[in-house]
């Protein structure tokens, strides 16, 4: 029983950075922009947050700083994709490569110094309840905040006028422009939001999930978050389901040895990546699938050009 509770708790914390980054990217892609640079933005966010944490600024500042760093790095992508109408796949890739290098440079002096990681919320009696306590009331505040973002993003996209306009920009920027909406400003806002979320995801990884600096610590989570968006068919609730699923694979890998699975550790480590491929294949069939994709995704648009 203890083990299963630990697996559940681990799954939720492993799912949190994936979910944060994926929710951001859902909004970006709904506006018709494909930002492949999540891995780079997460790494920059992770490095900046870690730097703030070991410099004694405290964890709240670390999270805010990580989010800001992600936001700033996404502005580079926005300049290329929106202003210069560059190929979005290439621009995102440039951001991923740049972020890998920059984060490693920021992290040069960190050594193996640990930070005090984010503590679980003390919910008093609730956390002490048998079974329900450890299952529901013993996570750190970021887990709850991330979970709360799911309905917030869903509500924004489907129930608000701004969300409707954002989706219109993603489906048909020409029409949105003709009606008089500022397509580029809306896309810029979406990209910056996605950057902040990726930065936050990176911050969670470095100062809450791991607690020491490891170069390239995202280890492909940015790319998995991208797959998650496809898996979720651009829907926030499905992103939650997907993140939990992928989080579960990550934890299975950690607990695989304890559970006595007769596999080399590398096979278990490869599991989340293999699962991503299998899931991508399973969901990429069928005509209905194509209707989910925002119609102008990755297509550069500039009014009057």
């Amino acid at each position: 029983m203890e083990l299963w509770i630990a697996i559940f708790a681990g799954t939720m914390t492993a799912a949190t950075p994936l979910l944060l980054a994926a929710l951001g990217e859902v909004v970006v892609e709904k506006s018709g922009v494909l930002n492949l640079g999540i891995e780079g933005m997460m790494l920059i966010g992770a490095a900046v947050a870690f730097w703030l944490a070991i410099s004694g600024w405290g964890l709240p500042a670390a999270f805010v700083g990580g989010a800001l760093a992600g936001l700033l790095s996404s502005a580079l992508f926005a300049a290329l994709a929106l202003l210069f109408m560059a190929n979005q796949s290439a621009s995102g890739l440039a951001l991923a490569i740049f972020g890998t290098g920059l984060s490693a440079m920021i992290g040069m002096g960190f050594g193996s110094q640990p930070v005090a990681t984010l503590k679980a919320l003390d919910l008093g009696g609730l956390s002490d309840l048998p079974l329900i306590g450890p299952l529901l009331f013993s996570f750190d505040p970021m887990v709850y905040l991330t979970l709360a973002t799911v309905p917030a993003v869903w509500w924004f996209l489907t129930r608000t006028k701004s969300g409707l306009i954002l989706r219109m920009v993603g489906e048909s920027p020409e029409n949105a422009h003709a009606i008089g909406y500022p397509v580029l400003k809306i896309r810029l806002a979406a990209i910056l939001f996605g950057g902040a979320m990726a930065g936050l995801a990176g911050a969670y990884l470095s100062v809450a999930y791991v607690g020491i600096w490891v170069e390239n610590m995202t280890a492909g989570r940015g790319w998995i978050a991208l797959s998650l968006v496809v898996f979720a068919a651009w829907r926030p609730w499905r992103a939650l389901a997907g993140a939990v699923l992928f989080g579960g694979f990550t934890i299975l890998q950690l607990h695989g040895q304890i559970l006595g699975l007769p596999l080399p550790s590398e096979a278990l480590s490869a599991l989340p990546y293999l699962a991503t491929i299998i899931v991508l294949v399973a969901i990429s069939q069928g005509r209905k699938r194509r209707l989910d994709v925002p119609a102008s995704l990755a297509r550069p648009y500039r009014p009057g050009a």
């Binding site: 560059a86 890739l93 490569i97 740049f98 490869a270 491929i277």
Partner: protein, 355 residues
């Protein structure tokens, strides 16, 4: 006065060349300011990064050692990129190629002599193709996004490599280091000069450049592929099939990356260990772009990006600047290239004024 943009009607070779050149210049300028911000004399450091390494024969040899895999892979990738097939996982295909070559080198019966190297070459090429082929199959059969699949396969290839060199293929005499035994002498390329590491692989890189040129400029298949990438509907009239473009694009990239893996194993590495490439597969994507998917451009781009590796190592040794600055430069170069391309394909004009 408002500004608007319109497409340039006649894009000459000169304007096409302008974007990569501008990108390189901007990267250098930015690099100088970065060195200055880090507290180093900008010009001296820039010299140490970009010029110093190639002032000696040894440095030039090292530059070629790094340029060869970049050029070979970029030539293969360019074929796919021209058809809008995004193989981002050349790194994984290189790893599988290296595993293929090392497997033959380690386990082929002794006494193959001259045959061993060609067999390793073939095994590496097929392994790279097989790894890219998975993505091709999934894209052609289930229209699964090849960007994500090739990337995930890169991580998986890394784990396979790690498992092999820590487990079944580990050198029993290797003091528990995660690496295989050295390739037999027949499975190693002799350096062109005993003082340096560069091997005959440079000639293969040139061959790859030539093959790409023939494919693009002279073959109907190359023409069809490019039309297919640029205008899929028009491409139907010249017999373009998306499926064959997917297979051609991905398998060519996989073969090239696999071959690059062979040249690493039979050349500078001589064995495989847990880490066998400083991200050649990813950097080759930048090479393909900066070379504008053109063979000559790829040749020059490969040399320049090889310089970022050699230069990064040089300033780490002499100034203690982290070698990660290489990745920063590489990312910036791609940023600047993408931005400069805007100015070569569009022009900014005042609206309302005389056009």
């Amino acid at each position: 006065m408002a500004l608007r943009i319109e497409p340039r009607r006649n894009v000459t070779t000169m304007t096409r060349l302008l974007a990569p050149v501008t990108a390189v210049v901007l990267t250098l300028l930015f690099g100088a300011s970065l060195f200055w911000a880090l507290g180093f004399e900008p010009l001296t450091t820039l010299y140490a990064f970009f010029i110093g390494p190639v002032t000696t024969l040894y440095g030039i040899s090292e530059l070629l050692v790094k340029a060869v895999p970049l050029i070979i892979i970029a030539c293969g990738l360019a074929v796919g990129f021209r058809a809008n097939i995004w193989n981002i996982g050349a790194e994984g295909q290189l790893i599988m190629g290296a595993i293929g070559a090392a497997g033959v080198g380690l386990f082929a019966p002794a006494g193959l002599g001259m045959l061993l190297l060609p067999l390793m070459f073939l095994a590496a090429m097929l392994a790279g193709m097989a790894w890219a082929g998975i993505a091709a199959l999934l894209r052609a059969r289930f229209s699964t996004n090849e960007i994500l699949v090739t990337l995930m396969l890169t991580y998986i290839a890394g784990f396979i490599l790690s498992w092999l060199v820590r487990g079944p293929w580990r050198d029993p005499m290797g003091f528990n280091f995660p690496q295989t035994a050295l390739m037999p002498a027949d499975g190693m390329l002799t350096p062109l000069d005993p003082r340096f590491r560069v091997t005959a692989s440079v000639f293969f890189a040139l061959l790859a450049v030539g093959l790409l040129w023939i494919f693009i400029a002279k073959s109907f298949a190359g023409y069809r592929l490019a039309v297919g990438g640029a205008a899929p509907r028009a491409a139907g009239y010249v017999g373009f099939s998306e499926k064959s473009a997917i297979w051609t694009g991905l398998l060519t990239g996989g073969a090239a990356a696999g071959i690059a893996g062979f040249y690493e194993v039979a050349g500078p590495l001589g064995q495989i260990s847990a880490v066998i490439s400083p991200g050649y597969g990813f950097t080759a994507i930048i090479v393909a772009f900066i070379g504008r998917l053109h063979p000559v451009g790829i040749l020059l781009g490969g040399l320049f990006l090889a310089l970022t590796y050699v230069g990064g190592e040089a300033v780490q040794v002499s100034y203690g600047i982290p070698a990660h600055i290489t990745r920063v430069f590489q990312g910036l170069l791609l940023f600047f290239l993408l931005a400069s391309e805007f100015f070569t394909s569009w022009r900014i004009i005042r609206s309302g004024g005389p056009v």
